[in-house]
């Protein structure tokens, strides 16, 4: 498997200056990830952890006040390595249309309410390729059939469809042209469970059929469990743990990840579940040392002053935590 997009020590801050007050929000602080071609990579974390910002950077669509302050983003396409910062605006736009597809949050509102679905598809397809109406209708019909969406969707207006169907139609729209890289931002938030299931299944099918790479951003671990191959957990702008999905869910090492997983209710028992005390730090004044130390039950003196670095717990599983580092150093290496 080869890397398709990677970031190295990426730092992206929002720097604003309004009415004499300057404020720097360290939204993405020193993040290094390498997404492999053809995989489903999930980015997990609460609101305010920086995942939306990371998404914007990966998409290449960001404007001041958001700036890349340090580090690099590199796309590996057609055997070439392209540094995002060196691309012109036109090149970035080109990239977005041809290779990258983006499914935004609340995407059901993206559909044009005064056009029938098949015409919206036609508009989209002809913006990228030269086809006439009949051809694009045929393409659309075939693709919808492949994904298991009913044919009557084509002649409908968006408001006639149910919310879940709209969401799935939007996903079909975003993926009909074989994008290599699909970014989905909270595709299931605010949808109910039944629709969520349909959306997740659709994403899975799309990804498998086309062999695309899927980057999924959501705070819902249940979605990651059913869709992602690997998960990266973000907290307060930092990557705190990364590994294969089952590893993260069954054997999390970072205290935050553990808390995150334990706080989810399940249908197995109604016992009292603890919630994480406190709240994430404000990113304009991040705390010294480990960003989680104020809420961490295992906090030590070192955590308050030194920022932990990423260490490898097992092949493909890394985390940034002093306590884990210590645990590992006591384990005799085999």
């Amino acid at each position: 498997m080869s890397t398709i997009v990677e970031t190295k020590n990426l730092k992206a801050y929002y720097i604003t200056n309004a009415y004499g007050v300057e404020r720097t929000v360290q939204a993405v602080d020193d993040i290094s990830i390498a997404i492999q071609e053809g995989e489903s990579y999930g980015i997990a974390g609460e609101s305010g952890c920086g995942k939306s910002t990371l998404l914007k950077i990966l998409l290449g669509s960001y404007d001041p006040p958001l700036r890349v302050v340090d580090g690099s983003i590199t796309y590996h396409l057609d055997g070439k390595a392209i540094d995002a910062e060196s691309m012109t605006l036109d090149e970035k736009r080109d990239l977005r249309w041809k290779t990258i597809s983006y499914i935004p949050q609340g995407s059901m509102h993206v559909l044009n309410p005064v056009r029938r679905v098949r015409d919206t598809f036609h508009d989209f397809i002809t913006a990228h390729r030269n086809v006439d109406k009949d051809e694009s209708y045929k393409m659309t019909a075939e693709y919808l059939k492949e994904l298991g969406l009913p044919e009557k969707v084509m002649a409908s207006y968006p408001h006639q469809l149910s919310g879940g169907m709209r969401q799935r139609v939007t996903i079909a729209l975003a993926t009909i042209l074989w994008p290599k890289l699909i970014f989905a931002d909270e595709p299931t938030t605010a949808l109910d469970v039944v629709v969520q299931r349909g959306v997740i299944q659709l994403l899975k099918e799309v990804q498998q059929k086309k062999g695309s790479t899927l980057v999924l951003i959501t705070h819902d671990m249940g979605v990651h469990a059913n869709l992602a191959d690997r998960i990266g957990v973000l907290y307060a702008g930092k990557l705190v743990e990364e590994g294969a999905t089952r590893t993260i869910l069954d054997n999390p090492r970072h205290p935050y990840t553990k808390f995150l997983i334990n706080s989810l209710p399940s249908l197995k028992d109604r016992g009292e579940r603890a919630s994480i005390p406190g709240r994430p730090p404000a990113l304009d004044k991040p705390p010294l040392g480990c960003r989680f130390h104020e809420r961490c039950p295992l906090v030590q003196d070192k955590c308050r002053t030194i920022d932990p670095q990423m260490i490898t717990v097992a092949p493909g599983h890394r985390t940034a935590c002093h306590v884990v580092e210590e645990e590992l150093s006591h384990v005799p290496s085999v």
């Binding site: 309004a18 009415y19 004499g20 007050v21 404020r23 404000a282």
Partner: protein
């Protein structure tokens, strides 16, 4: 309040310039009380003098100092506009917001009244009234009339704003907190409307100044009272253009343009500052 003003003056370029212009206009108004001449004095000074160090804007063919005339003119025009805006927007806000919030039959009746007012052709009506009342039109009466004709259309917009605010969840919270309708409209909804209101006030001033100047140029207002429009009227009456004494006209025209620009700049700066979304950004920063 004062920190707001200080912030605005310091950081908003348009607000700063607009305020300077309006302060200047205010200065002229204050000067009008110290004018060495009465507003309707004729032959007080040498006639038809071009602008010089003695007569900053020159003199008219009737022997009036254009500069001092201008101070009166600005004062009167702005008084008229002020009355018009106070009456117009005052009624407009109250009617619009109440009818939007209460809804039902009340809203329907009021809306039909509002619609009737909107259809009235304002300028022809004002011309008609002014020509009937010629000479007996006081400043107050003119301001009142303009105001009464300019409240209807704005009130529709306030009503529209309240209609959408009414469905917002915090309105429901306010209802369940036991607040009366009146309190909700004033405490919860009005703050959202204020930025819009300020821009609307400027628009009201512009309309009133425009109408006043139009009526006066046509000689329909009290031509003995100095106002920007009447200065232009008298300037035309005495053929200032043809006799090449353009300074008589340039002073009032220039003044009206500059004042209008001043209002505009202030309103742009203010609405930018008060924009709820920008406000939130600033509030966060203050932490």
């Amino acid at each position: 309040m004062f920190t707001t003003l200080r912030d605005l003056l310091r950081y908003s370029l348009s607000f700063r310039f607009g305020t300077i212009i309006l302060l200047f206009a205010a200065l002229l108004i204050v000067l009008s009380f110290f004018s060495p001449y009465e507003p309707d004095d004729r032959r007080a000074v040498a006639r038809n003098e071009a602008p010089s160090s003695e007569f900053i804007f020159g003199t008219t063919s009737q022997g009036q100092d254009v500069f001092w005339m201008l101070t009166f003119a600005i004062r009167n025009t702005l008084i008229i506009a002020g009355i018009a805006v106070t009456i117009g927007r005052g009624i407009g806000v109250m009617v619009g917001m109440l009818s939007g919030y209460i809804g039902g039959m009340f809203d329907r009746i009021v809306s039909s009244i509002v619609d009737s007012f909107i259809v009235i052709p304002r300028l022809p009506l004002l011309i008609l009234i002014a020509s009937i009342m010629r000479g007996q039109m006081t400043i107050f009466a003119l301001g009142l009339m303009i105001g009464v004709l300019d409240w209807a259309y704005p009130s529709k917009r306030y009503r529209a704003q309240v209609l959408s605010l009414r469905e917002r969840e915090f309105t429901h919270t306010a209802v369940f907190s036991g607040m009366s309708s009146w309190k909700i409209v004033i405490q919860e909804h009005l703050p959202f409307i204020v930025p819009f209101l300020l821009a609307d006030i400027v628009s009201g001033f512009l309309f009133a100044i425009g109408i006043e100047v139009t009526l006066s140029i046509l000689g329909l207002s009290d031509t003995d009272t100095q106002s920007i429009g009447s200065m232009i009227y008298w300037g035309n009456y005495y053929q200032s253009l043809l006799t090449n004494k353009v300074w008589v006209l340039i002073a009032p025209i220039g003044a009206s343009i500059v004042i209008v620009i001043g209002f505009y700049l202030v309103s742009v700066g203010l609405s930018d500052y008060l924009d709820p979304r920008k406000r939130l950004l600033r509030l966060q920063v203050k932490e």
